[in-house]
Each structure stands twice: as C-alpha cells, then as structure tokens.
C-alpha cells in the first residue's frame, strides 16, 4: 500500500478574499446599525418637524457625519443660530474625536482615498467597533466597507424619518434608546478582561466627577480628566517598570 500522498501544496490562503473582507465589514456594521438607523430616523423626523427642507437630513449625514451634532444642528439651524456659534458648538461636541487618534487602528487602512475616508467616517460607533477588534483580523476593505455601511444606515434612516414625519402626525417615541443600549453593550464588551479594570475605574471616576462638576459639558470634561488620570498612571508605572512589564501585551 502506497504511502498516503504528501499533502499537495494546497493553495492555503492566509488572507481571506476581498469579497470575504467586505462581507465581514458589513457584518461588523450590523451590530451598530441597529443603533444608528433609529437615530437616522429621528434626524429625518426632526428636520421635517423643524420646517427645514428634507435634503438637510442626508446633507448633514454626508457633510458632517457625527450623530449627536447632526441632531443638535437641526434645532440650531431652525433657530437661525449665528454661524460662529454653530462652528463653536461643533468644535466642542466633536472635540472628543481628538482622543480617538491614540487608539483607532488607522494603520490597517490603505493609504490614500481609503484612509482619508476612514478618518472622515470615524464616528463613535466605528471607533468602538474597530478599536476592540484584534488588529490581525482587520483589513482595509473590512474597515472601509463597515464604515460605508454605517454611513448608509444614517443616510437611509434620515430619508425614512423624512418620509415617516411627512406621513404620520405623531411618531412613536423612545427609539433614541438604541444609542444608549449600543454604548452600554460596547462597554460591556470592552471591559471583559481584568486588564481593562484600572482604565474602567479611572474612567468611571472621571465621568462621575465631570457629571457633578460640569453637567453642561460632562463628556469633554470627563475625557480630559480621564486623560490626565492615565498620564498619572503612566508616570506611576514608569516609576516601577519591573512590576508592570507583564501588563504590556
């Protein structure tokens, strides 16, 4: 009986095909999509109720593409708020994105147009989805198609909202909770391992202080306090590097 044949050089594909990467990206987007779509609907409803032209909903989702600020801008635009005030508000509310650059896996995205799009479309949900993922599993096609899908949910949701508000006089309330639930779920996933516990505790402390001390600007203040606390943590771990070396993955 002959020896079992040596394994033929099976075309062992180390990288999934581009189509599989795009499918993976669409899959990534579904989890956050259920949070984004209702917000898009809320945006569209708001635009119509404020008496603004319908195209403002897709224009905001394409031009600005930053959930909370889009909703805020609808009421500001409806009230004919001065442009300077609008610019300052957008700056204040979106300043949190500055902190994402430390950890968003932008290096996985191909330079040029894909990377430019990925930076432009770095909404909270995209940050949360891809920052938690194993970098080895991330590809340019996956991230860009995931982000494109997320933006599509916003635009489609906005158009649905416009249609809904035009058809129904009194829409059902409470859809906005999808965003709350989404971030609760993503936090649960982020703080699974013990290693994340120190950061989670520092963040909780920062959030508590910010909500009490600066209720009007809690998000930004919490992020600033958290960053300061992490700088302190870094200084402490530097002072005794031997003990904390095992912490580095």
């Amino acid at each position: 009986m002959p020896h079992p044949p040596e394994h033929a050089p099976v075309p062992h594909a180390p990288r999934p095909s581009r189509r599989a990467e795009v499918a993976a990206g669409l899959g990534d987007s579904l989890g956050v999509g259920i949070g984004i779509l209702p917000l898009g609907v809320a945006l569209g409803v708001l635009v119509v109720q404020a008496g603004l032209p319908w195209w403002l909903a897709p224009a905001l989702s394409i031009g600005i593409f930053a959930g909370s600020v889009e909703l805020l801008l609808v009421s500001m635009i409806a009230a004919a708020t001065p442009l300077v005030t609008i610019a300052i508000t957008v700056f204040a509310v979106n300043f949190r994105h500055v902190f994402y650059a430390f950890s968003f896996p932008i290096s996985r995205v191909t330079r040029g147009l894909p990377r430019a799009y990925s930076v432009y479309a770095m909404i909270d949900e995209a940050y949360a989805t891809y920052v938690l993922m194993d970098r080895e599993r991330l590809s340019s096609a996956r991230m860009v198609s995931g982000q494109l899908a997320m933006q599509t949910y916003w635009v489609v949701g906005g158009l649905l909202g416009v249609a809904l508000a035009t058809a129904l006089p009194e829409p059902i309330e409470g859809f906005e909770f999808a965003l709350v639930a989404l971030f609760v779920v993503m936090t649960l996933d982020a703080v699974r391992s013990r290693r994340e516990l120190p950061s989670a505790l520092l963040a909780a402390a920062a959030a508590a202080v910010a909500i009490v001390a600066a209720p009007g600007n809690a998000l930004l203040v919490a992020l600033l306090i958290f960053t300061a606390l992490l700088a302190g943590r870094y200084a402490v771990t530097r002072a005794r590097p031997a003990r904390e070396d095992s912490d580095d993955a």
Partner: protein, 108 residues
C-alpha cells in the same frame, strides 16, 4: 425658513470643523509613533472612552425623560442581562433593550 446660503454654510462649516478634529490628531501623533506614552494611552483609552460615552449618554437620557427615569433603568438592565445571557450578540441586546424602552415609554 432660513435661506439656502445659510443652510449650505452651516453644513459646510460643521463639515470642516469635524473633519479637522478627526484628521489633525493623526497627523500630530504620527511623529510620536515610537513614544511609549502615546502607545500606553492607545492601549488604555478604548475601554475607558467607551465607558465614559455610555455613562454620559445614559445620564442625558435620564435628564431628557425625568418622568420615565425608571424606564431608563429597566431598559438598561434588560440590555445588560440579554447581552450577558445571549452570548454577547449586540443586535439582540440592543433590540431587546430598545423594544423594552419603547413599550414602557409609550404604554405606561
């Protein structure tokens, strides 16, 4: 209704500010890629940032619905339980929590 020029200017201004806030930090951090401090922040920030976002958004919902504060707690509890019991499938947990919230807000 505001005129067309104002609408376009508002969207364009918001767009420029947002893109700058997303893009400039990457450009600034690029020369610091080898910095151990930046690397440590990159490793420590994600879980904390998500927690802060969750807490602040939750607080905003409390403030927006003072009459239904208990619904916020109930729906959050449902979301957490479904997520931990249902093998961490975000779609399922978000759908369960949101459905619960909509029912409580509109019917109770």
């Amino acid at each position: 209704m505001p005129d067309l020029g104002y609408l376009l200017a508002a969207v364009a201004l918001g767009s420029v500010v947002t893109i700058a806030l997303r893009a400039l930090p990457f450009a600034i951090l690029k020369p610091l890629r080898r910095s151990k401090f930046v690397a440590a922040l990159g490793r420590w920030m994600p879980a904390g940032i998500l927690l802060i976002l969750a807490v602040v958004i939750l607080r905003d919902e409390f403030v927006a619905r003072t009459g239904h504060w208990w619904a916020v707690i109930a729906a959050t509890a449902v979301t957490v339980v479904v997520h931990l019991v249902g093998r961490r499938r975000a779609v399922l947990s978000v759908a369960a929590g949101t459905t619960c919230y909509i029912v409580l807000i509109n019917l109770v």
